[in-house]
Amino acid sequence: MRRSLPARVGIYAVLLAAAVAMVLPFWWALTTSFKLPGDIFSGSPIPDPFTLANYQDVFRRLPFPTYFLNSVIVSGLVVGLNVIFGTAAAYAFAKLRFPGRDLIFFLFLLTLMVPFQVNLIPLYRIMVELHKIVPAIGVDTYFGIVAPGAVQVFGIFLMRQFLRSIPDEVLESARIDGASEWRILRSIVFPLAGPGIATLAIFTFIAAWNDFLWPLVVTNSDAMRTLPVGLALLARRNTVVWGQTMAGTVVAVAPMVIVFLLLQRRFIEGLTAGAVKDVG
């Protein structure tokens, strides 16, 4: 439907204003990271003179490459574990029959109501005890950061919806050919569930990459901290050296922004999964 010229101008003006409001803080963070300390509050939208000193300083003070690597490892593990275990469980809930199936699934759904903070303190204590028995796991280890999020119920729920669309005949004929359920899962379900797995992977990746409270609590050495934790501690300590803090922020944010811009359609679908009721 065509609208009148003033109406269209109005729509674009509002959208443009919103776009500026969304981009300006990013632009300000980026340019501040290239400014000299004396120019931080100069109000100039362009750094002049341009300096990389903030990056050098913040890298010298804090092990950002380590934070980055930790974030990659933690997110990778969370995604991998959720894809494998979440899909396996979702397949059982969607396509297999076993006594108690619907009850177990219902109990899973109930756990979605429980905010993470309720489990925070006991989880920390579990990790402390585990660390005493086996130093490689528990507090301040990758295991400790990853384990509580290794299987996320929302992921199971999402995949179950998805796997229900695989026709039973396909699975039935594989069973008649003598394939085991494990074999069916590996050679039929995983390949057919590609788009669903992509959604699950993106969803868990974003959550894990940005997760803060648990990694903050369960790590206590710079060697194990993830990007949000390292950045938050820097931002809290530093109320003066904004150039360095923004350099740290840019380093923490840039990888995610780049991945998002490359895969944005999939990202948007992944993050908004479940928000629109299926008509079919």
Partner: protein, 289 residues
Amino acid sequence: MARTIAKRFRAGVPGYVLVAPAVLVTVVFLVIPMIQTGYWSLTVYNGVKPPQFVGLQNYIDLLTDPRFLRIIQNTVFFVVMGMAIGPVLGLASAVLLNQSVRLRALFRTTFFLPTMVSLVAVATVWKMLYQDQGMINQVLATFGLSGTDWLNDPTTALPAVVVTSIWQGFGFETVVFLAALQSIPREFYDAARVDGAGAWAQFRHVTLPGLRYTIVFVYVVGIIGSFQVFDQVFVMTQGRPGISTRTMVYELVEQFQNLRLGTASAIAYILLIILAVMSYIQIRLGEGD
């Protein structure tokens, strides 16, 4: 009889094996800790000496303490203000984007960008913008307005944290509502027009009913997330000035660090109860007709 049951369980073995890891992780890292927190909330416990049972005393102490009531009030203010403004802005921008605008994808990407970024990074940037000589006050000055030291002024600190959070969630809400708008069949609007409905009547009688499920989704996710606000407070204000930006989860974490585990556990359960009640109400509202 016994044999058929045994048979059904045997046939179910692959199912049990496949759900076992998920059940194990959930029981060990969610169900058992949840029960433990529930028990600790009824005790005085510092993590060293054995917990000492005190019944509901922690709850009574918290709910009669003006300081904690102020913390609940802060949290509710954060939720209500954020939810009153954020989704409405998101819906408005989705409605605009759903007109035949050029560059829709570009706008959508731009709006969505902050959603991808960790709250910690967003809060760090906004903390700088809110500084006394920061960007916001500079922009205001060019319009001849004078700002304040936003994060150090007890009247503006909490609203400032809310604004940051709305900014972060705006793109998510826009994208979700846009997807929902596009799923409403065109014929509904055509039919409404034939019946003589104007723009507002169409919005009221076609768009809003069509968005019902998504509105409930946005509010369920938004309210549950907002009650758990922590990252922004940790980075931007540490609960200050005074306790004017202190929220329930921030208080929980601090009581945990101070080894008042009984009190911290009781705060966790108060949060759990609030969220359970909210979810129940919203899901009932969503069912409707």
